[in-house]
């Protein structure tokens, strides 16, 4: 019998067991993943660490869809696309059952925060202009479920409206402000605003633009001082169009996964192999919420992990040293 979305989120079922079930479901019902496993000669699998991770660029080249006979495949017509400059090919993530994503978002946030205590503000483009952004969809879902009526997408190019801020404070709720790294810095440039002391800022990445580059530590320093909060209240989210779950960092630069998602760091020369804790490699993700696409993904991001499972994202993996004549101090 096929694993259900409810079971995916059931923290009473061990991750290992669920991962193996999802693996079998996807190997049997996802033609892309099936071909991948066949070509690698994957037979019977006994532990999640033996599950092969599909390189994430597959989402740029082909429909990655797991569709069993009973699934509501494509009926919802929801499709997420990665952001990208013109001329760059974008990933396409088909989401046959948006409810799985909604549940992943809300249960995930609740795992880390007392979500019902927060008003959600998003300093990002709105949902209407960005129907294919998984991040905006997530923010929209969080805003829609919040009951005070104070949650919303903020106007871009505008500083924070103090009257609105007063309303949040009077509502006895706390504020959670989402925004891309440079979006939030731009917001501060329009006028520094001290947020209520129990607010949380959640930056959603985008550390590099064509104009600027900044380290995460420096960014968090600037955001904390600009919004008048301690650095411990500036958090980060790690997510992407190809994933329906997110990881959050509430402790400096170390990200923690939701219970139905697991990260491992893979050897770029042998992605079936996990590297030692503390060693750099490619970030591999098992996101069981990707039930109807592919849950086992090898990203193009560089990262490292410590023994409690928390991980750091160190930018894009650059493989360009691998070919050609190379004088390497350590080897030559």
């Amino acid at each position: 019998m096929m694993i259900t979305p409810e079971e995916i989120f059931d923290t009473g079922i061990p991750f290992e067991k669920k991962a193996l079930e999802v693996f079998e479901f996807q190997r049997n019902n996802n033609p892309v993943y099936q071909r991948f496993c066949q070509a690698l000669g994957i037979g019977e699998i006994h532990s999640a660490s033996e599950i092969p991770l599909l390189p994430i660029q597959a989402f740029k080249e082909i429909e990655v869809l797991t569709a069993s006979e009973n699934s509501k495949s494509k009926t919802q017509n929801l499709e997420f696309q990665s952001s990208g400059t013109s001329g760059m090919s974008r990933s396409r993530h088909l989401v046959p059952d948006p409810e799985v994503y909604r549940q992943s978002i809300i249960r995930g946030m609740k795992h880390f925060y007392e979500l019902d205590d927060y008003v959600i503000w998003a300093y990002t483009p709105g949902y209407i202009e960005n129907p294919n952004s998984s991040l905006i969809w997530m923010l929209n879902a969080l805003i829609e479920r919040e009951t005070s009526g104070l949650s919303r997408f903020l106007d871009l190019d505008q500083p924070i409206d103090h009257k609105e801020l007063d309303k949040v404070q009077k509502s006895e709720k706390k504020l959670m402000l989402f925004g891309a790294a440079f979006g939030l810095l731009d917001m501060l440039e329009k006028g520094e605003t001290k947020l209520p002391k129990d607010s949380v800022i959640l930056e959603t990445g985008g550390m590099k633009t064509h104009r600027r580059e900044i380290t995460k530590a420096a960014l968090h320093e600037k955001l904390a001082s600009g919004f008048g909060l301690p650095k411990s209240q500036v958090h980060s989210e790690y997510g992407m169009a190809e994933l329906l779950s997110q990881a959050y960092s509430r402790e400096g630069e170390w990200f923690e996964c939701v219970p139905w998602m697991k990260v491992s760091i893979r050897n770029p020369k042998n992605p079936m192999e996990e590297v030692e804790y503390g060693e750099e490699g490619l970030i591999g993700v098992m996101d069981l919420a990707n039930l109807y696409s592919c849950s086992f993904i090898l990203t193009g991001d560089k990262g490292l992990q410590r023994d409690d499972g928390k991980f750091q994202v160190l930018g894009r993996w650059n493989p360009e040293n691998l070919r050609g004549c190379n004088f390497l101090i350590d080897q030559d």
Binding site: P55, C325, F327, L328
Partner: protein, 351 residues
Amino acid sequence: MSWLKKHIECVRQAADKWLNPENNVLQEAIRKTGDEGLFSRQDIEFQLSVLRENIQNNEIEQWVERAGLSDQKNAKDNKVLCLHAGNLPLVGFQTALGTILSGADYYGKLSRKDPYLLGSFLDGISKAGLDQHIQYTTDLSDFKGLQADKVIFAGSEESVPDVKAKVTDLNATKDEAKYIIRTAKFSIAYLEDWNESINQELVQAMLRYGGKGCRSVAVIVADFGLEEVKEELEEAIRRFWSENPQHLKPAPDVRYQYAYNEAVQRKQLWLKNFLIQESEDLPDTDFTVNWVQGGDEKVSKLKTKFGRKVQSVYTTGKEIAGIETEDLSTAQRPNLWWKPDGVDVIERLIK
């Protein structure tokens, strides 16, 4: 006799002597290299046969003339530090020979992966009576306090700061020392036609030295798709490998790429230890060649896209506007004066 004439004669004689198949020192270097599994005997013999041909064709003399080396214009009294890579046999030979021909004092850091072959040449030439200093080592710290005027090395842009820092730490260069850095990684072949001879030339260009080295073809642009010639190509590759067994095997990432290609239904030729795939991406791993269907505009576009990572563009005769091309048959048989990264080493050293 002028300095130049005497100098060329001396170098030529030393090179001839070294390349003589009966030279015991060279034979010993070949044996050690083979015994330690550094390179295949076939690749070593091939490289030596190319160098013999170069020297016999008077290419030392032609190179010197092309570079404009003279009694007046040379690099005498300059100290040149050469950091040699070791990814294929004798990959540093041309740089060492060019430096010595320029008249400069040569200080070579030989690769631990290729210490014997180039070392045997340098041993021979240092006894040839040249009026310049020739010294080599496999330990860079032996050049502590050298104060070299110039440094030549091959590396990626990312490796440059590390190398410079190490050299500076050792005080091995002068503060104002000039660096000649090679960043080319691979070559492109353009095929407008297909026949048995082109097939063989292509296979040699792709597979010799396991496809390593910047002169090896890692991108093929062809007027036709991979599928159209796949069977003939595979046959030629199998023939090549029966005479030149693949010395090194790829890491599992190449098989992973093959599986990925199967998953996304990308056209490919998978040969267990080598992969040819239809892709316009940067070829960033060894043992992988990317095939692109297109014409000469596509070649120009890719050359621009890959920038300084491209060493040479080979054709089977066709000229491509705005691009200097070489004949495909010369990919692994270059003239002695071929220009890594478009730079003639002698010309640069005497500038």
